[in-house]
């Protein structure tokens, strides 16, 4: 063991690292000059980072028109705005669907609304990493108005059939919000084709932006009422929030360095191609799973994930201890515990949690090989864990 082994970063489902050099440069450049945000300055020498980011995102996700791409602080912020805004526009008292695959960014806002008596909530169980459209259809009642669910699971790496689910929901007049925190930038997403009403993204994961950026695409702006009000730099004589997009939802000063970085991150992805990114990730993920499955002490929770996410446990060791050893002995950064998705873990590991490896475009084959070797070494030693030092 070396004193300071180099970091092998396999926690990209939380936040990607490293960032492409152009992302860091864009953030730096955006701070090198004063902000030239439209409507907020007489200066005009700088880049319009907000429009650049909006158009880049709209291009990557086939989201039309670009003005319907709204920027927020992160995916959780987006989900809160959309869920609260849906009730503000449509009234309380409806039935809402979500799934046990979902992250607390969906589960907590919905459970809080249920606790307040403002909605009736059904959490659908999953099978083989997703909820089938026919299970969704069976759960719809006459008062079902909304479904909110993850596109990709941050624990299992599975991707849900949002096209199939969306069709079922729209046939029954149910509004559909999709949390794309784990899919944007990792797999092709065509919002011109997918039957979703709103699609949420975050900047700091697969899109290679920096923390503090996220947003959503909203097909019909009138379907969601704004729940935040304030300065937009436009129509300032009016004492009410503008109806126009994106000002309807974007209030206050933007995160300019964050959006400059996000635009650069999205452009980086576009220059490589999402398909190429997905193919490399699929090959590396399959390698890791193949290696881990060789160890009888290792349980892999989804052996065929679509996303570059591998969740596992080692028999005889707490997941937290495995993460500790990976980090301290091998310099491998993973994530352990519940990953903010308690219901997934209740279903797959009795709520104990797991170790999660998650890859990015920058993960090398050699890093995957070292990680697999390290996990196998820990697993082989796990049998000797009980006893005196």
């Amino acid at each position: 063991m070396s004193e300071n082994p180099p970091i092998i970063y396999l926690n990209n489902a939380a936040t990607t690292w490293p960032k492409p050099p152009e992302v860091l440069e864009a953030a730096r450049q955006s701070l090198a000059l004063p902000v030239f945000g439209s409507g907020r300055t007489t200066g005009s020498q700088g880049e319009d980072y907000i429009t650049l980011a909006r158009e880049a995102l709209a291009g990557l996700l086939s989201a039309d028109p670009p003005e319907h791409v709204v920027f927020t602080q992160n995916a959780t912020d987006s989900l809160n705005i959309l869920i609260q805004g849906f009730l503000a526009a449509n009234g309380d008292g409806c039935h809402v669907l979500t799934t046990a695959l979902d992250h607390n960014s969906v589960l907590r806002p919905l459970h809080e609304l249920e606790r307040q008596g403002r909605i009736r909530l059904t959490v659908l169980p999953f099978e083989d990493g997703s909820v089938r459209p026919d299970a969704v259809e069976a759960a719809i009642t006459p008062d079902t108005r909304l479904m909110v669910t993850a596109h990709g699971s941050n624990v299992l790496g599975s991707v849900q059939d949002v096209a199939g689910i969306g069709e079922v929901l729209h046939d029954r007049g149910v509004y559909f919000i999709v949390d794309g925190a784990q899919t944007a930038g990792h797999i092709p997403v065509d919002l011109g084709d997918l039957p979703v009403d709103a699609y949420v993204f975050t900047g700091h994961k697969g899109l290679f932006g920096i923390p503090g950026t996220g947003g959503f695409y909203l097909r019909n702006p009138d379907s969601i009422a704004p729940v935040r009000y304030g300065g937009t730099g436009t129509d300032s004589f009016s004492l009410y929030q503008p109806r126009e997009m994106p000002e309807r939802f974007e209030t206050g000063t933007h995160n300019y360095p964050g959006l400059a970085a996000l635009a650069a991150g999205v452009n980086y992805i576009a220059s490589i191609g999402v398909n190429a990114i997905a193919e490399k990730a699929e090959r590396q993920t399959a390698f890791l799973i193949r290696e881990l499955k060789e160890e009888p002490n290792v349980t892999v929770y989804n052996e065929s994930p679509t996303l570059p996410i591998v969740s596992f446990n080692i028999r005889g060791l707490e997941n937290d201890d495995v993460g500790f050893i990976l980090a301290r002995v091998y310099g491998i950064v993973a994530r352990t515990g519940l990953h903010c998705a308690p219901l997934v873990h209740r279903a797959i590991d009795g709520g104990r949690g797991s170790v999660r490896l998650s890859l990015s475009r920058f993960t090398t084959d050699e890093e995957c090989r070292i990680a697999a070797q390290a996990i196998k070494e820990i697993a082989r030693n796990a049998d000797s864990s009980v006893g005196s030092p």
Partner: protein
């Protein structure tokens, strides 16, 4: 050996409160043999210089690697105020070869009584 300061902390999903402590010297494997006087120790001696984990149910657990200058401690939150001083005492009392165990065991018994009363009521 002394605890110098806490360098990281978080509330854990299992209801414990984790603190990572920086120590005045690297952890010797012998530390965990000494800790075995006060709880259970598990080890994976072949990983790095050895991974060790000390468990004292209802009090705290300590995990670390021999040779590291930090350890991770998970306190049972409800009685952390009662047990944290004993943790500091465990480290400051440790010297290879000469530890006054009877004094420490006396202190452990006194703190243990208060922990039991707090968690389960009076005996």
């Amino acid at each position: 050996m002394r605890i110098l300061r806490s360098v990281r902390h978080k509330s854990c999903a299992d209801g414990t409160f984790m603190k990572e402590f920086l120590l005045s010297a690297p952890v010797p494997a012998g530390l965990f043999s000494y800790l075995e006087n006060f709880g259970e120790v598990e080890s994976l001696p072949n990983l790095g210089e050895g991974f060790y984990k000390f468990e004292k149910p209802d009090w705290f657990s300590i995990k670390g690697l021999a040779g590291d200058t930090t350890v991770e401690v998970r306190f049972k939150k409800e009685v952390m105020d009662l047990t944290v001083n004993f943790l500091y005492l465990l480290f400051s009392s440790y010297r290879e070869g000469s530890v006054d165990l009877p004094v420490l065991k006396q202190r452990e018994e006194a703190v243990g009584k208060r922990v039991r009363e707090h968690l389960y009521g009076r005996d």
